[in-house]
Structures are given as structure tokens and as C-alpha cells.
Amino acid sequence: MNPTPAFALLTNGTALPWAEVPAWPMPEFLDQVGASLTRGGRLSSLFGVPMSEGGALQLVAVLAFDASNTLAVGRSQPFTGTFPALTVHHPQAHLFEREIWEQHGAVPQGHPWLKPVRQDHGAGPAVGEFFRVDGREVHEVAVGPVHAGIIEPGHFRFQCAGEEVLHLEIALGYQHRGVEEALPGGPHRASVHQIETLAGDTTIAHATAYAGVLEALAGTEAPLRAQWLRAIALELERLANHTGDLGALAGDVAFLPTASACGKIRGDFLNLTALLCGNRFGRGLVRPGGCAWELEPERLARLRAGLDTALRDVQQAAAWLWDATAVRARFENTGRLEASQAREIGLVGPAARACGLVRDVRFDHPTGWYRFAQVPVSVWPDGDVFARARVRWLEIQRAGEFLRELFDTAPDGPLHLPLPPPAPNTLAVALVEGWRGEVCHVALTNAQGRLHRYKLTDPSFHNWTGLALALRGQAISDFPLCNKSFNLSYCGFDL
């Protein structure tokens, strides 16, 4: 599983001069990327970089070789018009290629399902062709964009035979706010705030990746104490969201004790983040160059006490859940995804680990404090709703233990240092294991050291396809449960 030597290799959270990223003619570039994917590489990102003048485009691939803890970057030579689609042989490229087509107009030839990813071209994301199954007994169900409940918008189109879902197509883009388009020429004053609200429940992970990229471009790292504090905040974010998910899953099978308890405990974890910085979602805590709020001993003591209580409560709430046979009966064998499918579509995060795949950025590509202290990777083999719930529960426990370890190992020193300006014509990559999985930020600066291209990949970008596949052969009434078991971000996908 070693990358093709021709790629430029780098570790997570580092930068390299753009000139050192190998550029191949298009066919060779695609061969190289394809060969690496065949040998077990993972497509962390694939995107276009427009040339400063002339309207030509270069494609850039960021590949992750998890077993050898290496990232590999390569690019195509400038081209215009079309390129042969990687998707034909490597399904994990399918959304990336649709996105390249949408953002730059370059056509991936042979792409089996070339549609916009998030924009509407004037009509609305759900207007247009959907995959259809024909037959006398077949009917179509359309849901969204506005759903029941307090939840973000998206459109789901089911092809059903009776109750059974034959195919689900997910049309997103309703939340598109133009975050990626706003970054070139920056960083701007609003940039860090747009990143923090890119996916509001993943504020810390995205802000940490953003800070990591800018620090790598500046040829530096955040002070140790800031790296330590970022790890605390990232694990608190994981605890809050995983707890909320366990509660929501319990709620969807009408198991109210855990649902009500977790609804409250989730808030208790959010309040611990607010203890750090005043904001329940961690806004204003992580800044390029370090962190903005000190964690003094007295505050740390309060954090420790609050964490103990919340962990004890969630332990109790989870015990009820696992004890109830009615819950197991609904979770087991529902929304099953095979490990081979997960690998093929490039699934990340707890959803991938619930298919038995050992992938976790904290372990495979550690940066920051994760280089000094490790969290074991939580894996469960079955690929169903039960497995996804189970992985969350394992991660809650391990995050709790990890935090207690962190509390006792606080490094001294400054929390923030002024950040040197970004190096010109440089590419930087930062991956962070957010609670949903791999957050990937890639930045490329221009000759003036301003951002020329900034590529954002939220874990949801990889994982929505997983939900669609998990629904095949399921009763349509199990959609809410399956959906909750992935709990993907709409705005993180829509950017």
C-alpha cells in the first residue's frame, strides 16, 4: 500500500512548494491516481485549480495511504474541455468529478451520472432527471427539501416496490452559501467565521483544519499548549454529537428513556465547550496561530468535574439502550453496508469504522496533540445501524478516557503566537478527524501569498452515498433510522 513514488509525499499538516507537486499529462495523471486507488489508496480530495490566465484547468488529487501514514499529491498538466472519468473504475471519485464539472465546466467523459452537485442553474437542486425504476408495481416517493422536524433541507427521491426501497437518490445543494468561492484572494476578515459556521456542529474540526493549513503555509505550528487545547475541544465536540446521535437513534425506535436523557446530556457537553470559550459550539476558540482562550487550572477543575458527571449520565443512558431487546431488534441488520462497498465509495469516520474499516485520521495521520497521545480506533464489523450506534458508544468512552489523560498532561507555554504570512506558490494539506469523519482542507497560494484555491471536503461529501446504498432493500419506513445512524451534514456538503 505504498504510494507510487512519482507522487509528492507529505505528512498531514505540512506544505510543499507548488512546483514540487508532479504534473503529468492528463492520461498519465489519471493512470497514476487510478493505480494508487487500486492499491488501497483513498481519495481524500480531487479538485480543479484554474490557471491564473487562459481559462485552462489543472486537476489535483490528494491521496491518503492510511497504513503507511502518508499523503500523496499529484496534478495534471493544464487542459481544457474534457477528461476521461475516473469514476468508471473508481466510484469514490464520482462526486468529485461531478463537482469539477459543475465548478469549472470540464466534462468527465463516461461519467455514469453527471449531474450538478449543489447548484441549481436557476431551477432548484431537485429539478432535473432522477434515476428511475420502471414497472407496474414501482412507485416513486419524493421527500424534502423541507422535512418534518428541526433539520436542514435536502431532497430524497425513493424508487420503491411496495414498502421496499430499490433505489434512493439524494439531491442536495439547498444550503449552498458560497464558502469555497469566497476564499480566493483571502484569508479575509470573515474567512475564519465562515469556516466555523461551515458545518455548525463541526466548528472545532473545521477551524482546526483551517488553522492547520494556514500554519503549514506559514512554515510553523501552533504552540504545544494550543494543540493540547484543540484536542480537548475536538473530543468534547465528538462527545456532544455522538451522545446526541445515540439519543436520536433511541428516539427513532421510540425508546424514550435514552432519547430524553441524551437530549439533555448532549447539552451538558455543549456547555463544557461553552466553559472553554463562551460559545456552545466552540466559536472563537481555535485561531490560526493557536487558541484564543486560556484554560486556567480553576477552569480545568470545573471542566473535569462537569465531564465526570456528563460521562456518568451518558453511561447510564447507554446501558438502558444496550439492555433493551426491542432496540437491538430494530438496530440489527437494518441499513447494512458491506465493507467492500464502504471501501469502494471511500466512506470515512464512524460509518466506515462500523463496517470494520480501520480508518481514523487521529491514528493514521496524527497531527497536533494526537502525535503524543493516542486514542484507540473504535471498530465494529457488521455495517448496520447497530454497528454505527455501537461505534459511537465506543468512541464516547474512549474520548472520555482520552480527555482525562489530557487533563493531567497540560503543557506550559504560550497559547497563541503571531502567524507569519503564508508562503507564496505553496500547497498545504490538513486532515482532522471530526466526529463525522475526515475533514480535509487543501490550500494553494498565489505568487503574492494570498489564497488562490481553497478546497473544502467535509466527511459528509464521502458519506451521503453510503446512506443511499444502505437503504437498498430496506423498508422505506426505516429511512429515518438509517438517516439518523449516519447523521450527515447538509451544509457541510453544500458549502
Binding site: Q175, D201, A274
Partner: protein, 264 residues
């Protein structure tokens, strides 16, 4: 087994719903800061330090007028508080921030150092909604933080139902909309249709900096800079996101002059 466990545990924990509004409001996190206050009379001549750092262009300083700070645009990053050399902008620690009119959120004019809090709906609407308000939530480009802190109001800790307020699945069952997000162009049509589907009379509540004026995304081409270009707004609740307490205060304020609805 779990049945006995659950019941015993419930008994041991007692009531977990907060005492507010009968008891005192819980304190905001100490680093939250609450609503801002602007004493524009203190602004030094020719100083525009706050204008230069504000990420949402919430602060303006025109030569002939007092400094103006728009809490509707503000995401409460407190940069302005930190850079102000004269202490003109301060944090009040107050969670109450909801306003009925957009201009009530603009601070700075003499006598307007603080925002003007929302007054209740007129008597007729209060008679209709005071004991039972059903809201349909629409996220239109929201980042899931305003949504989460609205959602939390329905958990046992806050128990919104005790005030007769409930979120419903269909706009046909609703008395109004609660909107989050800057209103992405791709959600504009869905928002308008949902609004049209709510029977008259109806109220519209904009929660969060995005829904009020675009928040950190203000000026990005794919958004409409808030809900008011699309639908008439009756209540603005600032924050990024607003603390659940701020949202609850806003909802209660709308339903009753005393801040506690008649049914309670």
C-alpha cells in the same frame, strides 16, 4: 431489568426542567458576554478601530453621526470590545436580545446605548397564540447550530411544551415560521412556499445572525442576506447561535407582556 433501572433512576434525579421563568434564569457561560452596549459618546474623535476588525461590517462610523452597531449583523466575536481604546463597547452579560423591529437592534444613537427589547404581540394575536403557538421551523442555509439550540428547547431541560409552544411537521398545522440561516438562493422558493402554506394570521421569527442579516456569509452571492427580503419578520433573535435562553426569552416575550404566557 431496564424498566426498574429506568424508573429508579428517574426518581433519583427528580425534575430536570429548569426553574426559569418562575425561578431565576440560569447564568450564561462566563465567557459568553451577552448583549453588547455602545456608549457612542465615548468614541474618540477619528477612531475607527472597531470598524476595522468587525468581520460582519456590523459597525459603521460616518463623520457626522454617532458610531452605530447593528446587533442584527453581529456574531458576538467581541473583537470590537477588545480593540476599543475608550471602553465605548461593552458586554452586558444580558441574555435578553430579541427585538420586534430591525432598527431596534441598532445601537449608538443618544438614548439607544442598548437594544430595545421586543414587546408582545397585539392583543388580538395574543388571544390567538398566547396559550398555544405552533411553529414550523425552516432552515434556509443554517449551519445546524441555530437549529440545534432551537431543538434543545424541546428537551427535558427546557421543556418548551410547558409554555404551549411546539414545533410541528406541517406548515398547515403551524401558526408561524421560525427561520434559521441566511436564506440561500436554493432555499428561497421552498421558504416562500412554506410561508404561503401557513394559514393567516401568522408570525415569522428569525433566529440567529444569518437569518437576520446574513451573518458571517453576508455579501456572498448565493445567499439573500437574511429572511426579510423574502418574508415579513415579526421577531429577531440575534446571536451566532443565540443561546437557548435567548431564544426562549424571545418566544415568551412575543406571547406575553410579562414574558410569561397566560397558560403558564
Amino acid at each position: 431489568m431496564f424498566l426498574r433501572d429506568t424508573l429508579l433512576n428517574r426518581l433519583r434525579r427528580g425534575c430536570e426542567t429548569l426553574a426559569y421563568p418562575h425561578g431565576p434564569a440560569p447564568a450564561l457561560p462566563d465567557r459568553h458576554g451577552g448583549a453588547l452596549r455602545l456608549d457612542a459618546a465615548r468614541c474618540p474623535l477619528d477612531c475607527a478601530a472597531c470598524v476595522a476588525v468587525c468581520p460582519t461590517q456590523a459597525i459603521t462610523r460616518l463623520p457626522t453621526e454617532p458610531t452605530a452597531l447593528d446587533l442584527g449583523r453581529c456574531i458576538f466575536c467581541a473583537e470590537c470590545v477588545r480593540v476599543c481604546p475608550a471602553g465605548a463597547i461593552t458586554q452586558t452579560g444580558d441574555h435578553r436580545m430579541a427585538a420586534r423591529h430591525r432598527e431596534d437592534l441598532v445601537l449608538g444613537a443618544p438614548g439607544r446605548e442598548q437594544l430595545r427589547l421586543a414587546e408582545a404581540l397585539g392583543e388580538q394575536l395574543r388571544n390567538l397564540f398566547g396559550r398555544s403557538l405552533r411553529l414550523r421551523q425552516v432552515s434556509a442555509g443554517g449551519c445546524n447550530a441555530c437549529e440545534a439550540d432551537t431543538n434543545v428547547l424541546s428537551t427535558i431541560g427546557w421543556d418548551l411544551g410547558r409554555f404551549g409552544i411546539q414545533f410541528v411537521a406541517s406548515p398547515r398545522h403551524a401558526d408561524g415560521l421560525l427561520i434559521t440561516g441566511p436564506v440561500s438562493q436554493n432555499m428561497e422558493l421552498a421558504l416562500e412556499k412554506t410561508y404561503a402554506a401557513v394559514p393567516d394570521p401568522k408570525v415569522v421569527i428569525a433566529v440567529g445572525a444569518c437569518a437576520i442579516a446574513g451573518g458571517p456569509f453576508r455579501g456572498n452571492p448565493p445567499i439573500r442576506d437574511g429572511a426579510s427580503p423574502c418574508v415579513p419578520v415579526d421577531l429577531y433573535i440575534p446571536g451566532c447561535p443565540p443561546h437557548p435562553l435567548t431564544i426562549l426569552d424571545g418566544l415568551l416575550r412575543l406571547l406575553s407582556p410579562a414574558g410569561i404566557p397566560a397558560s403558564f
